[in-house]
Symmetry: C2
Subunit: 257 residues, 2 copies
Amino acid sequence: MKKLLYALMLMIASSAARAAIHTETVDYQQAGTTLEGYLAYDDALTGKRPGVLVVHQWKGLGDYEKKRAEMLAQLGYVAFCADIYGKGVRPATFAEAGAVSGKYKSDRALLRLRVNAGLDTLKKNERVDISHVAAIGYCFGGTTVLELARSGADLAGVVSFHGGLDSPAPADGKNIKCKVLCCHGADDPFEKPADLAAFQSEMRNAGVDWRLYEYGGAVHAFTDWTATGSLSGAKYNERADHRSWADMKQFFAEIFN
Amino acid sequence: MKKLLYALMLMIASSAARAAIHTETVDYQQAGTTLEGYLAYDDALTGKRPGVLVVHQWKGLGDYEKKRAEMLAQLGYVAFCADIYGKGVRPATFAEAGAVSGKYKSDRALLRLRVNAGLDTLKKNERVDISHVAAIGYCFGGTTVLELARSGADLAGVVSFHGGLDSPAPADGKNIKCKVLCCHGADDPFEKPADLAAFQSEMRNAGVDWRLYEYGGAVHAFTDWTATGSLSGAKYNERADHRSWADMKQFFAEIFN
């Protein structure tokens, strides 16, 4: 019955010239650090609905992730963009982004605390059906949602888009309770065959319900319409973007069933 | 407009307690050899519609592939099961199946002729819109539809389910005109990492529009509900079966657009 209701809700939401997407900036805390997230939902809908956490790329929460949250709201979900770095921390250059993201990649414990703070904030939203929650992330955010899963967080599924799949503690795969979809550019030069193989071993050894979808012709950042190729090996690919978005929707249809 | 018509047709077809699936055995020829195929379509539908060729596993065309054709007919397509081996050639044991399939795997020229004969038979069907034709294959049939693509055949796409992806002539990838989806069991012991890597190189070097979807926990033959595991490493996996079928439908929605 819930399945039917959601299907109907999504049909209504996506027929939606009339959809009114409400957005707002939301401050929240993790151990005394203020984080600045971004909430989006369709306020023409009533009642509880699935919630989706969105985790940003290496430059921090920006217009790209906000647009993704609005797209998710248009699909009928409550979307919340986490802020991993902290309010006002928005690296402007590749070098700064590398330094800030590197700090969290090197401190997975802190990364897990930060992303769980975002998940908790989403779950506290009165519109969210907490039994139907997922997290998606792009690039650094892809790595982050996998860490969220590895932290043992209680959610239905995670989707990594061109995320780094490596883990310093592969045994933590055993903590994963949710389903995992990795959408990967088959020509991504930042992800080595050995990293892919290690990720698969981690999932396999832990008995995770996982899948890895590789898109031919796509490099790193293939979903990011702002990625012009100015960083070598990172470029938008419309075809792979549309396919992976459709694959995510299909994944949601399964896990929010 | 065609897109809308197909969408409507598929909605009608899938609402279909009333669907009447017509099936028939069809004899056809390849260079003097009689082949025995199997046709299925919904005869409650009128007009031309996309056509899907289905290529069998290593034991030859049997009930499994016929059922798949009927499932495709229920989706609104004209489905035709090719017979690669020849009328009456239906190996009963694994050993016989290995010998017969091995003959064709070692003679890719003959394999291409045989599968193209099936494609031609499908295209000649008056119900088929020849600008919207795909081929799918299981196991040996997965290898075969990739050879069909490598032969330069004119069709919109091919889907391999747990097919062998190796090629004795990787340069033939350049002949591929259609889109390629490989649905692969991530734990398939018959497909070595080196074969997967070689396939990806073939696709990449030839500039093919390809994707490779790997399903965690699935071994060889994961879509085949008759695969009990009596052959080690080959076993049905309902979860991966349903997911790969959904992925195929999404692929069709794209290529029959």
